[in-house]
Symmetry: C2
Subunit: 475 residues, 2 copies
């Protein structure tokens, strides 16, 4: 791959340097734009790009501009004459222009908006106003809608004349006289149909739509659920104002999944490729979480400190503290992950909360029993073979090694049982609570669960020790 | 939502119970199949489904069968006569049939294969043989390929006659006489083109393909990168043998992201919706990880146990052990997540390993400095206000409270610095190593990193204490 890229880069740069127009055209006709853009990702000479746009037909460079880096785009816009800029914009879709503008300084934005044809400018301005991550912010306004009384023949004629300006012609939106959406038709059905049939007779009436303010994650889930190619976006009066196409949805799904992955693992987000993210940004995405978690740990620190005398009298207790806290953290993390992901994928319906808690209660009881039983055996083994030294404990407690082993393993296993059940129950409930409070479950639930589980496990450990076990053993 | 579903369920069941054929048809014409299937998800009476398939035209039930539960599908197949089964199969695509068969008992599989028309049976058998998660296992064999010498007019005629049997007609694959793939044409370009043009003159020559053995994740990344609707799958002789369409890719992306999320958070996988996964399966997905992590913890237990005397002489050391281990675990987890996700999204090229390590070294140094500095201040605060009791430490060490505070905070901060740097460096290197060894980075790297970081942090803590600090303080 690396080698191929070097060869290609050299070929492109040579062709441009020697002003070999036919070779440059051949390259753009046979190689995907994104591969060419990647080869040129370190070029910061506007002349190179001006030559490309002048030489190659816009048919082959239509999305080349969109694939360049923000810096390169700014460079090109500044180097373009107004006429060139207008030409570029006329071949672009409103949603791509918006994506570009969102990264540009104000003076560049103004220049671009001025160069836009009035219709396009209105669309771009509209799109720029929708809140991030809503259907409105990802939709495009260039779609084909047709009246329900048209014939298939007329519809195909309209597609031939107006279709090039639309983001997709694979889905046609059919409306009545009052611009109410009545149905959709896929292009293939139009081709399979009889020329004289009316759209209203062949359209699908079981279409779905989304509201312009819907969250993009919900939109993506609808595409998946209904296997759509394109979906109409409607306003509060139920009139169509834009469409979302499946290629945008692919990006949304990747973005939302990456966001969940980041938050579940205590990172602010991962919206840029790692190697393109500046060092200080990576520090900002990671360090605050570790500090926040350290501050939240104040509760467990407090508990550990107040039971210092218990530790002093039996230091073996401190050997198993990390084991208990880690097991609780892992169990909570597993449940948080499962529930948060299920919420993201829209798996739950209203009323499912109770079913989740009841299911989790059973899962937790099983896992807690398994883990407690295993831990008991494992600790007995660790102490028996001397991985954990019991000599001091035997001296301090004043009874035989086997009794010490049973006592310690029993204490840890009992604590683990309580910890596991608590961890999974807390972790399955918090995400629903966060969602109800309109907070991001992936952000809140990990740290909160860990903190609560740490407190519960440590208190159980030391209280079990100082009361039940202490009393049983007559200490 | 819940209420709507109840109303719809009642409407459907009433219509079927009263044998109201026109109402049943109306329902299937106006409501998406998946919504109907979900309403009927608890129906286990074959007669209900037989009535539906008999009453509603196959045009409206084409993917209804695929949306039903495995149990319902089995029920229907067993209730169908051979003739009905053949009819159902004729309207299905090979890849959907394969999805169904993979869940069925052997006798049902045999009956279905026998009922398949010979061509379809061959395709189904072929698809059943590809390894899971390869391009071959998700491709479909129903595509349209045409000779490059055809005219646009002829091509549209072929689409009208053969298109209904193809998974997509939006992308046409153009081949030469020897069945070598020469280019692709999108349906809209065909419609925009002049009737008499030849395919070879209007086809896109900058298409990309994948090999039948490529991993489905790579395929999904290519769709994203090149904004494709469909891609040809070729064999080792570079001949086209199938295609993958974007709706399959949406499923792949969700599946792969969910797998990463699961593995990064120590769960075997989450391939079924939570509420549909049996309790014992959830236990099996979670419990083994906690046990494995507990066993891996043997190293830190060993270290803690062998430094028990250091703890006994200064119990305050044990108060901060969890804080150090957790911070290291969190830092390692952040880096593992970032690198594993970047590898999944195919962000790195050959030779990027060194760039990643160099970048991570700088990030780690910054974060380690920030965290160590913060921790120093935070511990000073905790000890100053009495969250952590220093009385015993003052007695044991035999010098003033302020000196004790500086000593402990300095020791923890130094340990954290080493831990942070080690955690991030190990975590950024292991995923590359795992990939080189053809292991799943998301599975291996979390637990391995945690284990190594735990060992490093505890050794640093106690060795720093017993040598450097111990000597400095003349203990």
């Amino acid at each position: 791959m690396e080698e191929e890229k070097e060869v290609l880069t050299e070929r492109i740069l040579n062709a441009i340097k020697s002003r070999n127009a036919s070779e440059v055209r051949e390259i753009f006709e046979t190689i995907p734009n994104i591969d060419i853009a990647e080869c040129l990702d370190e070029v910061d000479d506007a002349a190179v790009f001006l030559y490309i746009f002048r030489t190659v037909s816009s048919e082959y460079t239509s999305d080349f501009f969109a694939e360049l880096t923000t810096e390169q785009q700014e460079l090109i816009i500044n180097a373009f004459t107004d006429k060139q800029l207008i030409e570029l914009l006329e071949n672009s879709f409103a949603d791509d222009i918006v994506d570009t503008l969102e990264e540009m300084p104000a003076n560049v934005v103004n220049r671009v908006l001025k160069a836009c044809p009035p219709d396009l400018r209105k669309d771009v301005n509209n799109l720029l106003n929708y809140k991030e991550n809503t259907a409105g912010s990802v939709m495009t306004t260039e779609y084909l809608d047709m009246k329900d009384t048209l014939t298939v023949k007329d519809a195909l004629k309209i597609i031939r004349t107006r279709g090039k300006d639309a983001e997709t012609v694979y889905t046609i939106f059919v409306r009545d006289n009052k611009r109410n959406l009545e149905g959709t038709i896929n292009l293939d059905d139009l081709i399979f149909a009889d020329e004289d049939e009316k759209l209203e007779d062949i359209m699908d009436r079981d279409f779905v739509t989304c509201n312009v303010n819907d969250d993009q994650e919900e939109v993506a889930n609808m595409f998946k659920r209904y296997d759509l190619n394109a979906m109409a976006v409607v306003n509060n009066e139920n009139k169509i104002i834009g469409i979302i196409t499946i290629d945008d949805v692919v990006d949304i799904i990747v973005e939302e999944a990456t966001e969940d992955i980041a938050h579940l693992n205590q990172i602010s987000n991962m919206d840029e490729p790692y190697l393109k993210t500046p060092v200080f940004k990576l520090v900002l995405k990671c360090a605050p979480w570790i500090i926040a978690l350290m501050i939240l740990q104040v509760f467990s620190t407090l508990i550990l400190s107040s039971f210092e005398s218990a530790i002093a009298s039996l230091t073996i207790l401190s050997v198993f503290t990390p084991l208990i806290m880690d097991a609780g953290g892992n169990a909570g993390g597993q449940t948080t992950t499962i529930i948060v992901r299920s919420l993201s994928l829209d798996e739950f319906e209203k009323g499912d909360f109770k079913r989740v808690v009841w299911k989790e209660l059973r899962v937790a009881a099983c896992i807690a029993s398994v883990i407690a039983t295993f831990a008991f055996g494992w600790l007995m083994f660790e102490m028996a073979v001397g991985i954990v030294d019991t000599k001091t404990a035997v001296e301090n407690l004043g009874f035989g090694k086997v009794q010490v082993m049973f006592t310690i393993a029993g204490l840890v296993a009992s604590t683990l049982f309580v910890t596991m059940v608590a961890a999974r129950l807390i972790a399955c409930m918090l995400p629903f609570l966060a969602k109800k409070l309109k907070l991001d479950p992936a952000v809140m639930c990990g740290p909160l669960t860990t903190t609560m589980v740490d407190v519960i496990s440590l208190l159980t450990y030391f209280i079990l020790w100082s009361t039940l076990f202490g009393r049983l053993l007559g200490l």
